[in-house]
Subunit: 329 residues, 2 copies
């Protein structure tokens, strides 16, 4: 188990920015920083830059042991330690990030995808603390998921389980801008999907006085729609009703798969609060078999979004048995 | 671990008949029998009848130790040992079957639902032998599922995980005759659903020469439709194309949840073979994210249907550590 003298390097690799922090066993971020992911043409240069930026931070904590490195990244594969075919990272098809990090830092490195990292953080520090069975749904630019079964992340036979954003909930429905599939959860319930739903609604004649009609089309974001919904704009509220209904139907399917104690929603889209949560809850319950009804909590994450990714990544290592705990400085 | 000298009582409780057998550690059924489930007004009388029928069989094997009793039953809950709200069994809301069996036989009794028992049997004796991650889909009068993750059945927080037949694949679609939900997998892909699809197709004008038009409406069964499909009847084949497509779309969603090595199909409906399998495979692949494509086997169970339920039930005990192994005779 982790002691007060142990720290973990938590790293969240995003398409644009990479954030890192030193995290103690209580989930305090002692030091942090960031670099721009897109500044590095190769993964080797990226790893060098991380080393140059993180080692100065470690020098402030020479009284502590570094237990390892936890990393969350798009398409990060827990089993192989590689980033597989991440569309937003231009470092190749299969990038052996965990191995490169271990070689550079001489520390154990555990990699997983960003949604799994969020679920790990939720289990260690967040609203799912102590839960053995829950599903984390990340609602941001895309829709991701981390599934926890018997207190462990579900990885499947090859490390890529839990792509619930790409399950189909409206067969033959909206075409996904990137995968080309029709009717996926992500096509409707991501920030991107919400904007598309708003634009569809704007083409209809209902709610002629909606303030959303005064926003320039290119300026419509999930954030703007949310702000208008809070101000009482009926069209904006309808967009969240549509989104929440589809999300709720999808959640019912997920519940009947793994029978979790709770579904935890995370990410920018949850700022809509009850406008999203109420229809989601209603349609989840409506589509569940009676045996599941009223038994599954639908919760909003209470982790600070800015910290969650670093905490989540670090918790991968907190939960693991350290195989090496060598201070790299 | 089981030895050659150990046997298990495997019992499959069906809505109409209950089959039981004595199973050795190699999966041989040494002795078997059946009683009519519906003959017993109370669960206590049912347990008495099982005792009266099984003890004579045990007397043929006094050289062996009985390791325990494994039971599969509709709505059987692994955690509580109860049958919860089974619509076809009239013994009450929550029937503590495992406890009653243990009290009567003085043997450990493990209960689970019938689809989980089938998956357990598949893992121990069938086509999924040695697999750590697979999903068993039972296609019979209803659609059930048993999900195996890391070599263990997935039960969720309360023992009722894996109700994939009731996940929604056609929102707003066909109303389920019993649950009232709309567009569930069971509404289309069960034997009952296949007959409804056939009747819908018969109302259309296509395939005026189909032999299915000569069958009395009340005599149309999935078996009849299958026989006609094999004979080349285009309407009957279309019914399986429709069924297989919907099944395949649902399977894609399941795969993106738990990333299994294989999906194993089991039950009467799989007699349709390629008429079902080909469209199911096609639409599964079509709806998967590229990372999953071509990596998941779609298999037909090779367990004899008559034996599978008994073997599956018995394997629950074979895999467990016996907590008591007392010969009851």
């Amino acid at each position: 188990m982790a002691t007060n003298k142990e720290i973990v390097i938590g790293i969240d690799v995003g398409g644009t920015n990479t954030k890192f922090g030193l995290v103690d066993s209580q989930g305090n971020i002692l030091d942090e920083g960031r670099i721009k992911t897109t500044d590095y043409a190769t993964v080797e240069l990226f790893v060098d830059a991380l080393y140059e930026n993180i080692t100065p931070l470690l020098k402030n904590h020479t009284d502590k042991t570094v237990k390892g490195i936890g990393m969350g990244a798009p398409n990060g594969n827990f089993y192989t330690g590689c980033i597989d075919h991440a569309p937003n990272l231009r470092w190749g098809e299969e990038v052996p990030l965990a191995k490169l990090m271990t070689d550079k830092f001489d520390l154990t490195c555990i990699l997983t995808n960003d949604a799994n990292a969020a679920a790990a953080g939720e289990m260690q520090y967040g609203i799912a603390k102590g839960m053995q069975h829950f599903i984390e749904i990340t609602l941001g630019t895309g829709v991701g998921s981390g599934i926890v079964v018997d207190g462990k992340l579900l990885y499947g036979c090859n490390g890529i389980a839990g792509e619930l954003g790409h399950t189909i909930i409206r067969p033959g429905g909206r075409k996904h801008w990137s995968t080309g599939s029709r009717g996926s959860v992500e096509a409707y319930c991501s920030a991107t999907g919400i904007v598309i739903t708003a634009k569809e609604q704007l083409k209809k004649k209902a709610y002629p006085d909606s303030k959303l009609r005064q926003v320039k089309v290119d300026d419509i974001t999930a954030k703007v729609i949310n702000e208008l919904a809070v101000q009482g704009d009926k069209l904006a509220q309808k967009v969240y009703q549509i989104t929440g209904r589809i999300l709720g139907e999808a959640l019912a399917n997920f519940v009947m798969f793994s029978s979790p104690q709770a579904i935890v929603l995370f990410g920018g889209v949850i700022k809509a609060g009850d406008y999203l949560l109420k229809p989601a809850k209603k349609y989840m319950e409506l589509n569940l078999l009676p045996a599941f009804r009223g038994r599954v909590k639908l919760l909003l994450s209470d982790l600070k979004e800015a910290d969650a990714a670093i905490l989540g990544a670090s918790s991968l290592v907190q939960k693991s048995k350290a195989t090496r705990a060598v201070h790299p400085v």
